[in-house]
Symmetry: C2
Subunit: 150 residues, 2 copies
């Protein structure tokens, strides 16, 4: 824990470590408020602005991955490895999909390389996000936004 933080040039603090371990426990796709509420429920005593601050810091450090949820809300994923998110328009469920292989490399890399060659821009790892309908949609109740493995 401390080591993970130090490795990214971050100081240790109780809230920060708690947030980090929260994402380590299982794969999650959660909003800042989810993190805040979940941790409060467990008796952790931290503030919402600290959660926001640390989600930013941790995703800039590459420990978490930030992406856009439904309704203009940011979501965070504890799995920083290359994968895609499919978000259900109806239930808000998030499904992780590993990158398919193209030309012998993960699609991400293929795309990054192709675009850099075509444009002359320096581009970051592509974040690919799709909207769709989960098999639960249309029948089931709205989900809680955090679903399925990362």
């Amino acid at each position: 824990m401390r080591d993970t933080l130090r490795a990214h040039g971050l100081r240790f603090s109780r809230p920060r470590a708690t947030i980090l371990s929260y994402f380590g426990e299982r794969d999650r796709h959660v909003s800042a408020e989810d993190v805040y509420l979940d941790l409060r429920r467990r008796g952790e005593d931290l503030s919402l602005s600290t959660v926001y601050l640390n989600l930013n810091v941790l995703s800039e450090a590459g420990v978490l991955r930030e992406f856009q949820g439904t309704g203009g809300q940011k979501l965070y994923d504890g799995n920083p490895s290359p994968h895609y998110h499919v978000i259900c328009r109806e239930t808000g469920e998030v499904l992780d999909v590993p990158a398919p292989v193209v030309d012998g490399v993960p699609l991400n890399q293929f795309l990054k390389r192709t675009i850099e060659e075509a444009t002359g821009w320096e581009v970051e790892e592509p974040r690919i996000q799709l909207r769709g309908r989960s098999p639960n949609a249309g029948a089931a109740d709205p989900g809680d936004g955090s679903t399925s493995g990362s």
Copy 2:
């Protein structure tokens, strides 16, 4: 104009037609406020909420494409055809990139198909968005957020 609207089941109105023609004029990547201000400058008399309403309606109808700009702001693109956006972290410039071809089909379709087969979800056309640094970054002044052809 009227026909484009009717084809999507939308009524004609002056603000709506104005917004639509605004996107038709040249390729743009603009925020709701940009649309509003540009049109006001031209003497059009519409309200900001009307702009928001119509940008939503038009992008749901598939006439415009909505995507996430820098700073949690939505941007709209008058070009609904499959292409990707590369957004400069520093200048906010937006560059369009056509979809590369994989397996004989545009990457979008390849990805959609692959993911549908892998997951059993019904997914929409992938929206691919990349962050990066434009060749102007680091030296030049911050851009205006609307750059380059769609």
